[in-house]
């Protein structure tokens, strides 16, 4: 029997908005996934928790504008810890010009404001197969 998809959701740095990350976390849980919700954390704690929790996917959320510094840092730390194959996705207010740069840094997908929950669930289910 295959185990449930495990996903860690964390908010980057000191960003203050939790609505998006909580709503997505609930939707993923309702879609049958196991969700570990961390709240605000720095990249080091996020990477460490991802390994400890043995998740398939790391979902990052930020609306503050810190994404160009902190999101690639999470990917780098995961690689450093030998978990470079873990899928990292990002949600929040991300200016369109930053999207190709983030993808080049190893973020698998970026979900901007207004993204349908179904689209996020579908993407994560496919990645975790």
């Amino acid at each position: 029997m295959s185990r449930k998809t495990r996903i860690l959701i964390a908010r980057l740095g000191l960003d203050a908005h939790w609505r998006g990350s909580i709503v997505v976390a609930r939707a993923l849980r309702d879609a049958g996934m196991e969700v570990v919700y961390l709240g605000n954390q720095n990249p080091e704690t996020i990477a460490k928790s991802a390994l400890e929790e043995d998740v398939d996917v790391v979902g990052l959320s930020t609306l503050s504008g810190n994404h160009m510094i902190l999101a690639p840092e999470v990917v780098r730390l995961l690689r450093e810890k030998g978990a470079g194959d873990m899928t990292v996705v990002l949600g929040g207010t991300i200016p369109p010009d930053d999207i190709p740069k983030l993808k080049a840094e190893g973020i698998a997908e970026i979900f901007g404001p207004g993204t349908a929950l179904a689209k996020i669930i579908q993407f994560i289910s496919a990645k975790a197969l």
Binding site: L12, G13, L14, R26, Q41, G65, N66, T93, P113
Partner: protein
């Protein structure tokens, strides 16, 4: 004895005819199939008649503007006497940059300052803290020491212009408001000449922007009340707290929760001030509120009116307030950022216009209109200006300000106002039964309520029950962004250099003394603003003050999910 406005026989006739019309005329037609509810889930009927407000007692339920129960307006003349304050939110990067934006907005006709702070400042960190560096200058202006405060308001006549300090969390407010006051003193401006508002809301720290390692609810609440007490003593024209319903709403609250959570918070503050020995009428006139203007046009207008009537009732029945000013609910409005779309961003100008209109029809004292690019970035100069112009067009061209409470007496609006007020009273009773807002927060009840409401709303968007233009209908495939986005100017390097210089220049013994004064006041349970206003001129940093506070009060991990 209530004196009902409508004659019973006349109402009977209207009811009979309304039933006839419903059965014979309306029911024969087709309705589009959808739910006719308000955004907060209250049912809306096809038609309202006097029957829906048959028990209306004009003097008891509505009265006159500037008189109890204040539902028709906080002041007798409303906008004929004084236009609402046009207070556009601004803040980004180092203080020198935000100072230019403040001046730009004032030159363009803004009538107040609305200063927002970056994430590290709001959470009590220095820009250079390892956990804060990536957020320095993001979402607001960066403040580390009193020097930054001096630069932020340089050349701005703060004895004439009123300033709203969006110091959301008390851990931020206790320091940043102290810096503002200390800077005023240094400029020779007495505190009783200052007009403005601090946000200073403990729910912002413990429920709305939940993060591990914040101050425990009781400690955060204590700091908030220290600000109220300080202003009651020294700064009588300063609103020391703005119950931030706007932010509660942005996090997911319904209109009812938004108002009730602010009111439960205000009730707790009033109880604490009375416990500290203050008469209700000595501080209540300075308690102020901050609400959202969301996309349900009529529900928002009814919400403001219901809140005014409920507040008058609460202040009178719970606290026996005698000064009429204690009964008046005054509020600032921000149009709902959460309703803005990143898709087809210029559509947001239309959304914001309707939202500003509902705030004006609801009798707001001060308004920030959102900029069309807020779902994408910090507003540019152009988008900020367009938002300000939206307010000015409403003020000067539409003539909606000519009469006070123009929708008062609408059967629909009055009926909706009663319905909302009833729901608000019942939810307020629920919080009373839990033991008040501080306890409800400590238990995680507030967090759960808001998260449930946020998720419920999102599911209506997901199912298509709630349509959002450009998001789940009328989308444009592969849209090319029609606007230029703002880039936050370099902040960290500038703040880092400033802090390094200040740390070298400042008098070490003075710093030591300032910080130990704060620590001692903590231990003795004294009012901390009293000490911090005098301590910040020694150029101690916000992070240093936070460290003292957290050492004394400990930290708290709010329920997260």
């Amino acid at each position: 004895m209530p004196r009902e406005l409508f004659q019973k026989t006349a109402i009977r006739g209207v009811r009979k005819n309304a039933e006839r019309w419903q059965a014979n005329c309306y029911a024969a037609q087709k309705e589009q199939s959808r739910n006719y509810n308000t955004l907060s889930g209250l049912p809306v009927k096809a038609l309202y008649t006097p029957v829906d407000v048959e028990h209306l007692d004009y003097m008891r339920d509505l009265g006159f503007p500037g008189e109890e129960p204040f539902i028709r307006g906080a002041h007798p003349t409303m906008y004929r006497g004084r236009t609402w304050t046009q207070r556009q939110l601004a803040g980004f990067g180092p203080p020198e940059e935000t100072n230019k934006r403040y001046k730009f907005l004032l030159e363009q006709g803004a009538t107040g300052i609305n200063g927002v702070f970056d994430y590290p400042t709001l959470r009590g960190y220095d820009s250079t803290d390892p956990d804060a560096r990536a957020d320095a200058g993001k979402g607001g202006v960066s403040i580390d020491t009193i020097e930054d405060m001096r630069a932020l308001f340089d050349g701005i006549p703060i004895d004439k212009v009123s300033t709203s300090l969006v110091t959301c969390q008390p851990i931020c407010n206790i320091t940043v408001q102290s810096m503002y006051f200390a800077n005023a003193k240094a400029r020779g401006i007495p505190l009783d000449a200052l007009t403005g508002t601090s946000q200073n809301d403990f729910l912002m720290e413990t429920a709305i922007t939940v993060a591990p390692g914040v101050l425990p609810p009781e400690a955060s609440f204590k700091l908030s009340c220290d600000g109220i007490e300080y202003c009651a003593k020294y700064a009588p024209h300063w609103n020391p707290i703005s119950f931030a319903g706007y932010n509660y709403r942005e996090s997911g609250c319904t209109a009812v929760q938004e108002v009730v959570f602010t009111m439960a918070n205000a009730i707790a503050c009033a109880e604490e001030m009375i416990r500290r020995g203050y008469d209700i009428d000595s501080f209540a006139p300075r308690l102020s509120f901050f609400f959202s203007s969301h996309s349900d046009f009529f529900e928002e207008i009814a919400k403001y009116r219901a809140a005014r009537r409920l507040w008058a009732k609460v202040m009178k029945s719970r606290f026996g307030a005698k000064n009429p000013r204690s009964l008046i609910l005054r509020f600032h409005v921000q149009t709902a950022g959460v309703s803005l779309t990143a898709q087809q961003p210029l559509n947001n100008v239309a959304r914001v216009s309707y939202q500003v209109l509902s705030a004006v029809l609801g009798g707001a004292q001060s308004i920030h209109a959102d900029a069309y690019d807020e779902a994408l970035c910090v507003p540019t100069e152009l988008s900020s200006l367009t938002a300000l112009r939206t307010q000015q067009i409403l003020q000067h061209e539409t003539r909606v300000t000519h009469t006070v409470d123009p929708l008062g007496g609408s059967w629909f609006l009055e009926s909706l106002t009663f319905d909302l007020e009833e729901k608000m009273e019942s939810l307020l009773g629920e919080i009373d039964r839990i033991g008040g807002i501080v306890k409800a927060t400590d238990k995680g009840w507030i967090h759960q309520e808001i998260a449930d409401a946020a998720y419920a709303f999102q599911r209506t968007v997901e199912s298509g029950e709630q349509l959002i233009v450009g998001v789940n209908c009328f989308q444009i495939e592969d849209e090319v962004l029609p606007i230029a986005l703002f880039e936050v100017p370099e902040t960290l390097a500038i703040q880092e250099a400033k802090l390094a210089r200040i740390r070298k220049e400042r008098d070490a013994a003075g710093v030591e003394r300032a910080l130990s004064d704060i620590a001692r006041a903590c231990e003795q349970g004294k009012n901390l603003m009293e000490v911090i206003v005098d301590a910040v001129p020694a150029r101690i940093t916000e992070g240093e003050i936070t460290a003292v506070l957290k050492r004394n009060y400990g930290t708290w991990n709010p329920p997260l999910f």
